[in-house]
Subunit: 458 residues, 4 copies
């Protein structure tokens, strides 16, 4: 009740509108009616007037929005080839700077070493919706770069600019709830990437109950677009099944009595911001804020999928090095195995054993865990707390992770220490019980893994 932010709130109203008035350029219009992206990009960069550059930038972005894939890709190649650096020029400038560290020589070298497309991006960013436009542009570029590695050079510049613009210091965390504007909420529906939100009713069940929370990062220049969001349930303990968390029939509990805050869904929203990491900061800030509001909270944990497990198993099986996996994989690939309690019970020890192997034994060149979600949370300093059998029996859960779900624990007092240990030697910090499971299964691989194979063949 003692806020003091009035004046500053107004600032964002202005940001939101950011309708930079553009001078009418009638005298230019006549000659330049049908400009290509190429011509407009040149005008944006070459015009000496900053305001003219704005006008051209605005026109460029409007023009870009109307292009087809072919024209777009032509423009991307232009960026890669003609707006590139000149290696020879850099060498000459670097030699000169090596000889004499005169500031002017430094400037010349810096200038030579910056691809001109970076200045183009900066100028395009100056106009209304410029930031969104560039994020969308990179999204298209990333798509195209999968088939055309040359474009990765352009992407490198995008990444460089975006790391600067989407600096943690510029991001804003916002609560998303049932009082949030509808046009933001429909984006939550659209961007939810882990547990689909099929209707406004389901959205409401995730946002409105008193034991649910949702938080998102926004950037002041893209106020209509969440960058990343996390959904939280305030519970009595660490859940083992996602269906319990999302049960439409459950009765909301009093958050003042909750003991565990569970991050059960984290979704990146902007493909064009790939590689610019926010999740780390978001989870930690949310955990800190929740702890402050609900001092009685005892633990923070996730209920996370194991998205790469079945793919990994498939590769293992394809490789043929462990023949018994064939039968196991087959069983796991059959629809509905999880509905047969006896069968599920038979599969359990083998699957759990493979799961910990998958989590602990890296097969990556950088030595980090095979699973992308595991990498994310361990990198954040979380620890591997528990493996949950039949935690997610949705089609996706069974198909990608054999129904397994993982609890990663965020112990606020140990995050940094864990993180440093992980960063130093990729040590997977895990709870005693998970460690025990791993020791057990790796110690007696033969007997533990798939001990029930005979039955399958009977």
């Amino acid at each position: 009740m003692m806020t003091q932010a009035g004046f500053f709130q107004d600032l964002l109203q202005s940001i939101f509108k950011r309708s930079i008035k553009l001078p009418s350029l009638n005298w230019l219009e006549r000659e330049n009616r049908e400009q290509s992206l190429k011509m407009l990009a040149a005008l944006v960069l070459e015009t000496k007037g900053e305001a003219s550059a704005l006008v051209y930038a605005d026109r460029f972005l409007k023009r870009y929005a109307e292009t087809n894939a072919e024209e777009r890709n032509g423009f991307f190649m232009l960026l890669a080839e003609e707006y590139d650096i000149d290696a020879g020029q850099i060498i000459r400038a670097a030699q000169k700077y090596g000889d004499d560290k005169d500031p002017q020589n430094f400037c010349s070298l810096m200038q030579a070493a910056e691809p001109p497309r970076q200045e183009l991006f900066r100028r395009l960013n100056s106009v209304a919706d410029g930031t969104v436009g560039l994020v969308r542009m990179r999204e298209a570029l990333l798509e195209e770069a999968r088939n055309n590695p040359v474009l990765k050079r352009v992407d490198e510049d995008f990444r460089h600019m975006f790391r600067s613009w989407f600096n943690r210091g510029f991001l804003v965390m916002r609560t998303v709830d049932w009082t949030t504007p509808a046009h933001i909420l429909e984006k939550i529906i659209a961007y939810e990437a882990v547990h689909e939100i099929p209707s406004w009713e389901e959205l409401r069940r995730r946002l409105e109950p008193k034991d649910r929370r949702c938080f998102a990062f926004f950037h002041p220049s893209m106020p209509d677009e969440p960058l990343i969001f996390v959904e939280v349930a305030l519970l009595q303990g660490m859940p083992s099944k996602i269906a319990d968390v999302l049960d439409p029939e459950r009765v909301a509990e009093d958050p003042e009595n909750a003991k565990t805050a569970v991050f059960y869904s984290i979704s990146n929203c902007q493909k064009g911001l790939k590689g610019i990491s926010f999740g780390n900061f978001l989870i930690k800030q949310v955990a800190n804020d929740l702890q402050k509001h609900f001092p009685q909270l005892e633990e923070f944990a996730t209920l996370s999928p194991l998205p790469g497990f079945m793919r990994w198993l498939k590769q293992k099986e394809d490789s043929g090095t462990e023949p018994w996996l064939g039968e196991l994989f087959k069983r796991l690939s059959n629809n509905g195995w999880n509905l047969d309690p006896q069968l599920a019970e038979q599969l359990k020890p083998s699957v759990l054993g493979l799961c910990v192997r998958y989590l602990f034994q890296s097969e990556r060149s950088d030595g980090s865990p095979n699973d992308p979600v595991a990498r994310f949370h361990l990198e954040n300093g979380a620890s591997l707390e528990r493996v949950n059998w039949l935690g997610d029996v949705s089609a996706r859960g069974i198909g990608q992770g054999a129904g397994l779900m993982i609890n990663y624990r965020y112990d606020l007092s140990r995050l940094e220490q864990n993180h440093e240990l992980y960063a130093a030697n990729k040590e997977v910090i895990a709870s005693p019980s998970v460690k025990a499971l791993f020791k057990e299964t790796s110690g007696s691989k033969q007997s533990l893994l798939f001990p029930v194979s005979e039955e399958f063949h009977e």
Copy 2:
């Protein structure tokens, strides 16, 4: 009355607070109690955890705030020397890229060519008040670099980062008026650089009357700090004397009847943002917004000082090439010449002649006008409309500009065209009357300039 910005206003409240919760690093504290800036900078850059980096960055900025000049300069030299690029490495990377434009080679080159201090700045920017801290840091650096050119290399990186962060697209224009928070208003008092504001009463006279306006640019990460502001008077015509504009006795007019919007004071607020231009955009946006609100406005103009005129005259006189200037300069340097109407009338033709010469005949290597204010407005596309005799008879006005004031006209429909002409060949766009004055005086220099010299010697 039909606003829709509610949600977004909240965003800024969050920005304003931007209190990124930092994990407690007790386990680190023990070993690092007395860290030097050098050691902390290394930790900021080298730690692998992003959150740890935040902690170190926060500690670095707090530590920096306590340093004395010596330690600060030591740190600046460290930035210049140890966080510099390695020319040899760049050359090798550039050669490799020249041979094979593989994206990985591109990345390596880009990495080699970016001074590590840039990443340091980005990381420092991630914490609360990081942006302000860096702007203050550059302010100190610029001061120091005047005596230590090596530091200009560091400044170049600051400038590079700031151009990106203070991109026009991220700026927010705000009205400043008598309902603005007091802590912002006291900064307007402090930063006013043209016509001093000696009291809250004078501030009120500039902000509250219905025919006065003030606009400022802000950045979301520095919401308490205006970047630049402009003061505007809505009048019946172009004023010739600043005393009329600021007259405490004048009666405010109805802005709905105003014909001329006069920009009578523009002040940059942040020395640490030197070279990052905002004024151009601010004036144009203000002009456009005013035109929209008051469609009856017929012209936009400044009432500007001529700050370099007397300095230029002094140089001229010192050079001895035009001996008659000695006497003139002496007269103009005597206090109170403007109070003697007869004397002032005698001096007028010579001074006006020298004034247009000063404005039209560049003595700079880049061919642009000698006067910095003239360069600013002409660069913006304004035109030189009128020279006002005894326009500013304050001590500063007489001392710097011989009491002259200039009206520059902002003709919204011609700004871009003027700008292009100016940018192309430094053509000084001027009104017919000013041109006529220039022709007249330059055509018959002897007779026109100082025709009254005899009298002076009698």
Copy 3:
């Protein structure tokens, strides 16, 4: 972009929360655990401490929220009987005041003449959600008063208080659009009373397209509850069919080119505010605001139902005074008559004739039009512009208004004049064409009305 309302926006944040901290009354708790509404009401009124009164008021409202109908009605009767005025006391006080207009005598009379329940209502209003609570209470009271006229005395006091609290000066108009918080939007869905909104998709079609607008009045003490809202379509001309307006396939038009603003749905939201009129002010303010934003708008009109027409026809038919109506009413009551073009065409002249008779010939004691919607718009100063055959062929439209819809025109320059004329002598201001239709049909009633009855019997 030049807003200045920051500080004041904060005010409402506080209003919104309005969480008046209540002192803990442990020393009271002991004795008063199971209080009846009656006992609590007495405590609210009789306690001498204002803060204690707040505590009791809060407890009363919480207790009230848990009551069943029986207890509630008991309490209403208590309000009617025991918190009533004392006629004898008033007479004595009035006599005393009649004798001596001493201010003290005036006060005594005023006090005697105010039912004590008014003070109870004021005190209940002092706590968080008090205003909403009282509006809900009156809603229940109105329901009950239909069977228990004694309660109308209590309602009279509610009405008196609400007229003061919901004074036009305290209301706030707000745009409702797709950026409005979801919990407000779901109330728009719930409260739409004219043309149902069956889904979020339909809601979006009413709010998001650029040629649609929605405006609502709110009260600062009930910020989550719209009081009344109006839906507007910006069109090329006055529409004749609601289906055209709501067509999901239609393409949104540029509002800058719209010629007609059509109010196609107006819904009161709070049954507890019955008799406190807002619609008048809302329509006029919306019309004025739209005119200001879109100066090219040429006319403002409604597309309104004729909700009482079929009921009126039924009464006419029941009365038996015009026997031919029997057959007509039977036809109109048959489902699907409107789908038979020939039949519809046959019915048209009779129905139109009856319609204008219904609109022009009052059968009410106050002489105002029979139709409630007609009364509302004519009272506002609108004029009856056009009768639209088969304007609303939904089940409700056919069932209540024989498919007819009316355009009422809001001519901003004539509203007040029309209103005065209407208020003075209930003159129905109508367009020449509607007047002509009325003259025509009333002049030759026999021939015009139902000329096709023979065919029906063949």
Copy 4:
């Protein structure tokens, strides 16, 4: 950081502007150009159109703003005489209602018993700035009513309306600090009634230091006008001298370590709201909010003046019942007695004794304490904690209260209980030490009071 109030904040922006568009009434203008207040008031009340009433109300308020005292008082008399109730009509209506409690009879009686000026006030309140206008009008009325008791009848109606409109439930508490808009701050300067604020620098010393707070109540319809505000110092203990609290040289302390919150100045701002109490609620809400933010706070207390003490002493002395008071009063009336330590020490016991007598022994008909400030705080449930000798040695402090200041303690857990005790039998709740002082002095009046009188005459 988890706010959710966005939408609602917008509401107030609208309130703030509350620019109800008024239809142009050209057709009325012609006839009504030179309307008197009397004629306009009649038009406001008698017009049947609500919108027309708005137009007349707006015109009335503009016209009122231009009136001179004579015209204004004429209008006040009109309100008193011609817009009064008709006692005879009330008697008839009351008799009818006494005979038959029919709701219609109830309505008739209610209508008869409401002076028509109340409806006039309601209608005037409907337009922009109507609320402020009416508060100002009552201010003028109160001034005039001192000489003209007839007007107290009108004031009674104002008071009745304002009690309803300025209901606690409609008020908003706001922090006032150095980020508050300047136009609000200048009102804090203007309205400070206890310890004058002579400059913006002094204002800043009261608002900006981290151990100072200021809170005010606002009403949504008067967002530019504080209703009441309280200044708070967060200290290590209960202060005894106001000069310590306001010392410009003092160093601000960390509020996280404060033990005592001191309310050292409370000012009502609106004379037109006389008799509508807010202070009670404000202090309690501030105390509760502070306790929540700073849980370590151990006590809440005031440092209050004793404004009526010297006046009371004068009356005592004038009455001649206690002759020795003459000499004492003379001494206390001499400028600078407090600067003579020996004299002050001599006076101390007598003055303290008289002080507690003044505080404890009521001479009022209602039995409440003689001092208005004491009445206010004791009524709130505070207790009399300490009498401070030479607590306020400013001219006003010496002149009104003999330099004494009082600490009243707000014990949140006992406020209501204290209040009830006070309300029931005017019991002055006091600390043991003050009680002891009172017992001591009242037990041995002769010896204790003025024991040093001999010295005075020597």
